[in-house]
């Protein structure tokens, strides 16, 4: 890839493809909690200097951010407790989509870290209190698995 800008664009596209795929997969998840996601678009925060995008569910945290050198990166962490409710088949599909869309020349953009449920709870609290206007909460309608 020629420039950092091109690479970052590709990583950003991959990130939103992952979100779209996980959203689609989540429609067959059994409980409303598992079909609920919170998205935080920091670029819409006029006070922020941080341009990250966060995607939070009870079972996964997925973030698009940048290193200090400007390289975009995608980080994810999964909640081991929630995997029990989600089931390993669905969990594996979710993880597969992350690796599928970051394969090839951007494969080193991916990072893994530990999940903390508090981050999701804090975001839920902020949604309830309408603290920020750049937080969105969506519950996907249930669809029978294909």
């Amino acid at each position: 890839m020629n420039t950092q800008h091109e690479r970052n664009t590709k990583i950003r596209e991959a990130y939103f493809k992952i979100i779209n795929e996980i959203t689609r997969l989540s429609r067959s998840f059994s409980t409303p909690q598992l079909r609920t996601r919170i998205e935080i678009d920091h670029s819409r925060n006029k006070h922020a200097v941080w341009q990250a995008y966060e995607f939070l569910t009870p079972y996964l945290y997925l973030q698009l951010d940048a290193h200090p050198d400007g390289q975009a990166c995608i980080s994810y962490s999964s909640n081991e407790e929630a995997i029990r409710y989600l089931g390993f088949n669905s969990y594996t599909q979710v993880i597969r989509s992350i690796y599928k869309h970051t394969a090839g020349d951007i494969d080193d953009c991916l990072e893994v870290f530990y999940y903390t449920y508090e981050r999701y709870e804090d975001a839920l609290e902020d949604i309830r209190n309408e603290t920020y206007d750049f937080y969105t909460q969506t519950e996907e309608p249930y669809q029978e698995p294909a």
Binding site: E80, F88, K100, D107, F113
Partner: protein, 161 residues
């Protein structure tokens, strides 16, 4: 899983057989390719691979084959319905101590060899990624028992030598 048609039980059985062979092939490809990830390590311990052929153990088990190294394990087993399954488990302590680089690379290979685009039949649903947990203790236990008629131990050649 294999799509059930209105044909015959024989057809379903053939489909299942073909699918299981494809999963077995993927297990072989994964366990061959992940060995390359271990070659940059200097210590023999980190380059050691244990392969357990449970079909030769003489015990009745759902396990078929198992690949274990210090960092992760890949297990081929059959479920109650007769479907071959692949389980990937990464060592929790290694993830905490060494970071996620190797974890990412190993998981990528698991998905690469089981993705729809690279297999004759769709075996994507044969893979189960378990949450990181203790693998080292299994590895050390098998290593301590040594080789026998159904356990083989190899040390990958170091890239550093």
């Amino acid at each position: 899983m294999t799509v059930k048609t209105q044909d015959s039980t024989l057809k379903l059985s053939q489909n299942l057989d073909a699918r299981n062979k494809e999963v077995e092939k993927a297990f072989y490809q994964i366990t061959q390719s992940v060995r390359a990830l271990l070659t940059p390590f200097e210590s023999r311990k980190y380059r050691t691979c244990i392969l357990v052929d449970h079909t030769k153990s003489g015990r009745e088990t759902m396990l078929i084959r198992e690949f274990i190294c210090f960092f992760f394990s890949v297990t081929l087993s059959v479920n109650k319905a007769g479907y071959n399954m692949l389980y990937f488990r990464y060592d929790e302590e290694s993830l905490a101590r060494f970071g996620a680089r190797l974890y990412n690379r190993a998981l990528r290979l698991v998905f690469k060899h089981t993705m729809f685009e690279s297999t004759k039949l769709n075996i994507e649903d044969s893979v189960r990624v378990n949450a990181p947990a203790g693998v080292q203790s299994f590895f050390i236990h098998r290593l301590a028992e040594g080789e026998n008629s159904f356990v083989s131990i190899d040390v990958e050649e170091s890239l550093l030598t």
